[in-house]
């Protein structure tokens, strides 16, 4: 009975996974398909779309912009996240609920609201729209994810390790650097990778705040209207998917190493 029920659920879950992966599996198929129209039957193998992609100067600029934004936003978000995660897991202070609520708010706020409100303030303050303003926005939306990952890392710390360091004459800062930081390092790397992935993929904030500078998602969005560019976008999408999988696998690897290092049992997942 149990096995039967389990196998029904397993089949359902596998079908569900097929539904989740269906669109992604089409990407490489059409990226290598020798036809300008995305349709069956397939027309033979080509790498032309990848060549076209590599030779596109606007795309290269968009990629550079996106990388610059993603690196800056992930470093900033993780640094800010370290403060918030450390404070919320180590200290019990008044106003902690509302303070953490505000920091985590972007998680449940539609991104369009974040984008619109930032746009209004930046324009009112006379800040010109550029890559820099996108970094500001992306840091804000990546911060809650970084805090969530880092809180898990910090909360699993054994407090007595820190106290032992104080007893052995370490100062607050050196104890943090020598004892705590190495233990939460996997969490930090994981938060960096996660924030990087989110920023690289974020569209609506970049759409509002980038001015006339292209980022990868805004460039892709602008090209979706032109049927001629679609095969190239398929090639680009294939590479982006591969990169995301690589980054997430790394993030997951570091998260698990962190779990193992602090001696917990693995509960799984980015939550």
């Amino acid at each position: 009975m149990t096995r039967l029920r389990g196998s029904g659920l397993r089949v359902y879950t596998l079908l569900y996974l097929a539904f989740l992966y269906a669109p992604i599996i089409l990407l490489p198929i059409f990226a290598f398909n020798n036809a300008t129209v995305i349709a069956f039957p397939l027309q033979g193998f080509t790498t032309n779309w990848f060549v076209q992609m590599a030779e596109n100067p606007t795309l290269r600029q968009a990629l550079l912009n996106s990388l610059l934004i993603a690196v800056s936003a992930s470093v900033l978000a993780t640094c800010l996240g370290i403060f918030a995660a450390r404070a919320s897991t180590r200290f019990d202070f008044r106003g902690k609920g509302p303070v953490m609520g505000l920091i985590m708010l972007p998680l449940v706020l539609p991104e369009i609201i974040v984008a619109v409100s930032l746009l209004v303030v930046l324009l009112a303050a006379g800040v010109g729209l550029s890559i820099f303003t996108v970094i500001l926005g992306h840091t804000l939306i990546c911060m809650p994810y970084a805090v969530a990952i880092l809180s898990t890392a910090f909360s699993s710390l054994d407090k007595s390790l820190e106290e032992a360091a104080y007893d052995l004459g370490e100062t607050k800062w050196s104890a943090f650097r020598l004892v705590i930081l190495p233990l939460v390092m996997p969490g930090i790397v994981s938060a960096l990778l996660m924030s990087f992935t989110i920023s690289l993929d974020e569209f609506i904030i970049a759409f509002f705040l980038a001015g006339n500078q292209p980022t990868l998602p805004t460039y892709i969005f602008s090209q979706l209207r032109f049927p001629k560019s679609i095969p190239m976008i398929m090639a680009l999408g294939t590479l982006l998917v591969l990169m995301s999988i690589l980054l997430l696998t790394l993030a997951e690897y570091f998260r698990r190493r962190g779990v193992a290092r602090t001696g917990q049992t693995d509960t799984g997942g980015f939550i």
Binding site: L9, P23, A87, D201
Partner: protein, 289 residues
């Protein structure tokens, strides 16, 4: 607490100051600004700082706004229902059937599609469902249809399906976490006391999983209302939702006070609905607390 509460508050606040300051400057201040803007007058290229309710009156008197708001709510409600109902068995499978050491791998597999280029994923549904898309060209090549099926794309149904696909992991993870927290001995107790498997699920598992279901509902419902990409790409611009309206007011028409009023109105409706939903489910949420 050996250090005493006063110093602990001080230490905690000092430590959290940088991220808090960032969130105040780039989140609280901007949100308050659009709230203020929504009560200001639009003076063509400038904003006239004069209190008025005109923007809200104009917003709510506009039949287009009401149509779009109702449509967004309907779409979000359908997406939420579909996503959560489809996600529950998956979360149940992860929590109750999968061996503990393989859980992380399964969750990883489920989250990967979610993190891969949102824009490309949404567009791929257009490729799949389109007039000359994968389904139509595939069916035609096999001789199953002569004319492409037109009902696949550019309608509310295809928007709902694309959004359900996008937000799937959002629903699975909270339910999974709630199921993981259930003390397995409670289920055994239910069985020992003579309940059938189904009744144990209905009277023990489901009520205990409700906090996760409630979280899943909110976590899917709130962002889907504000989705911009899917109605634009899948709806072909013909089925706008609230985000499209906000974008049009803010950028194309450039009436920031009116755009702010639309944004605040939509947010107020969403918040009210979310709170009402929490209130209706308060009995389940109290169990855990």
């Amino acid at each position: 607490m050996a250090t005493g509460n006063g110093t602990e508050t001080g230490q905690g606040l000092r430590l959290i100051a940088p991220p808090l300051l960032y969130a105040i400057l780039l989140l609280a201040v901007p949100l308050l600004t659009i709230l203020a803007y929504s009560f200001f007058k639009d003076g063509y290229l400038t904003i006239v700082r004069e209190f008025t309710l005109e923007n809200y009156l104009a917003t709510w008197a506009d039949p287009i706004f009401r149509t779009i708001l109702v449509r967004s709510l309907m779409v979000a409600a359908m997406v939420t229902a579909v996503t959560v109902l489809m996600a529950f068995p998956v979360a149940y499978f992860l929590s109750f059937v999968v061996a503990p050491e393989r859980k992380a791998l399964w969750i990883f597999l489920i989250t990967i599609p979610f993190w891969t280029s949102y824009l490309v994923r949404v567009f791929l549904w257009k490729v799949i469902l389109g007039f000359n898309g994968v389904i139509n060209s595939g069916l035609k090549a096999n001789g199953l249809i002569d004319e492409p099926l037109k009902f696949l794309l550019y309608n509310t149904g295809s928007i709902v399906m694309t959004l359900s696909h996008s937000y799937a992991p959002f629903a699975i993870l909270p339910i999974y976490v709630a199921l993981e927290k259930i003390d397995r001995s409670l289920l055994e107790a239910g069985r020992d006391l003579g309940e059938s498997r189904l009744m144990t699920f209905w009277r023990v598992t489901l009520p205990l999983a409700m906090p996760g279901v409630v979280a899943a509902v909110l976590i899917v419902f709130i962002p889907t209302i504000g989705d911009y990409v899917t109605p634009t790409v899948i709806g072909g611009g013909k089925i706008p939702m609230v985000a499209n309206l906000i974008q049009a007011q803010m950028l194309d028409i450039d009436n920031k006070p009116l755009g702010s009023a639309v944004a605040i109105s939509a947010m107020a409706v969403v918040t009210a609905l979310s709170l009402a939903f929490l209130f209706l489910n308060r009995r389940f949420l109290k169990v855990r607390a």
